[in-house]
Amino acid sequence: MTRWLKISWTTAVFAFLYGPLLVLMVFSFNHARYTTSWQGFSLKWYKSLVDNPQLLDAFVNSLTVALVSSLIATALGTLGAFAVSRYRFAGRKLFFGLVYSVMMSPDIVMGVSLLMLFVTAGLTPGFLTLLAAHVTFCLPFVIVMVHARISGFDPAVVDAARDLGAREQDVFFKIIFPMILPAVLAGWLLSFTLSLDDVIISFFVTGPGFEILPLKIYSMVKLGVTPEVNALCTVLFMLTLAAVCAAHILTKEIKK
């Protein structure tokens, strides 16, 4: 009896989590415009996606920001995790506190605080402000993930290297980095995905002329126009799926 209960609870929760998404994907292939009827399988909404230059622009913009910000966040965050786990320095506790507070902070507070910073500094909201904001919220995730991995190491290995005369950069690049690579890559993947999907913070700090995909989807959804949105969402979901699978494979490497 309990086994049956367990199966039904698990299935119910998964059905809840995936049901709406599956419906969305299925209807992106519906020839009809409204979900009240199914008029046959069709790729026409996907075609109109490709024909929509504004959408493509937004997509390229989002990818650019995601790529650049995730790279910066990963580089900076890996260094940060390294520093935090190996060195004692003034403000270490404060740093940890800031890292965790950013992770816990509601996005909206981050969004408005960054908006205030940029406007007061006289910066025009645009690509650079967006970039800075994205790096800021991705950084803690990278730091925490990499730090967790570094902490699992035998410090004796590193000490041995230094006893043998290795320089600090070598210790980092040639010993520690290869060992933490899976965590770094997983952190990069997470940053990339978070950046691509961010709505709230981007809403406040993006500027004219730099339309990004989530905000474009937001206005498309409010207009409720065509299943083009469904097609777009399906494509993005597939990308996320690929990212999660990639991260999963990487974490399996860690276990090895």
Partner: protein
């Protein structure tokens, strides 16, 4: 020794500088501006005033606050009720299946919540899937009013935030040593006792972490009430967005943001107290 200092310096400095510039300073600005006066020309100006904090307590705005708190609380409770058994079942399952099931939870976690909210819109519209199915099979004749209601907002919030509760719970439960429960049973405890006196206390840090990760965002997620809520659903997120981007009342919006930050501080404090208290039982 010198390059050690050099490398260390760069690594530490870059990070500290970034956080100082983009986290600490903006945070202080929010706090500072919340004490300033509204100025439609320059966004904010002196003199310093407590007026905006007093305004927060004004019945009009206190109502938004209270409403948001209630929504967040209910959402958190719902998520907890759904996730706790789910995380438990997942963590006790056979090892090989655990990885796959966990991945299936992470996928929605990584999927854009906007996309997931939109999926709900499609389901709940008057001419959406649910109504089409119910009317088509003759169960009802008039479409149900699902969209633009409080119910829709709850569904949206729970749907968006469920993975955020599942994951911390799972993380804590997976680490639980089954020998602890075996030992309790050997000592004569029944299932009830095992749960309330062993499992529950051990899982409390996970519960607290999950609650923080659901409660706080639920207050700031403005697009869920925007897309799913009706005319009267204004939560803190919408309110703050309004103050900054429509009403142009930065000090007031900042005061509300400070309130959110204080709330966050309180919850993190509780988390630390709870996890320190229960950590004693962790390692045996």
């Amino acid at each position: 020794m010198n390059e050690r200092q050099g490398f260390k310096f760069i690594a530490v400095f870059l990070n500290m500088a970034w956080f100082a510039l983009f986290v600490l300073i903006p945070g202080l600005m929010v706090a500072g501006i919340s004490f300033m006066t509204r100025d439609t020309g320059r966004f904010f100006s002196l003199p310093f005033t407590l007026a905006h904090y007093r305004e927060l307590l004004d019945p009009v705005y206190a109502r938004v606050l209270a409403q948001s708190l209630i929504y967040s609380l209910n959402t958190t409770i719902l998520c907890l009720m759904i996730s706790y058994p789910f995380a438990w079942i997942l963590s006790r399952g056979p090892r090989h299946r655990r990885a796959l099931l966990l991945m299936m939870v992470i996928i929605p976690f990584w999927t854009s919540s906007l996309i997931r909210t939109y999926a709900l819109v499609i389901l709940m519209k008057a001419n959406g899937i649910i109504n089409t199915l119910l009317i088509g099979t003759g169960i009802i004749s008039d479409p149900l009013t699902l969209l633009y209601t409080d119910f829709a907002v709850y569904v949206g919030l729970v749907y968006t935030l469920l993975p955020f509760m599942i994951l911390p719970l799972y993380a804590v439960m997976e680490k639980m040593d089954p020998r602890l429960m075996e030992a309790a049973r050997d000592l004569g405890a029944n299932g009830f006792d095992v749960f309330f006196r062993v499992v529950l206390p051990l899982s409390l840090p996970g519960v607290m972490a999950g609650c923080i990760m659901v409660f706080l965002p639920a207050m700031g997620l403005f697009y869920v009430p925007d897309l799913l809520g009706g005319a009267k659903t204004m939560l803190m997120g919408n309110f703050i967005k309004n103050q900054f981007l429509t009403a142009m009342n930065w000090p007031f919006g900042s005061a509300a943001s400070v309130f959110l930050l204080l709330l966050m501080g309180v919850m993190i404090l509780i988390y630390f107290i709870v996890s320190r208290h229960f950590n004693r039982y962790e390692t045996l």
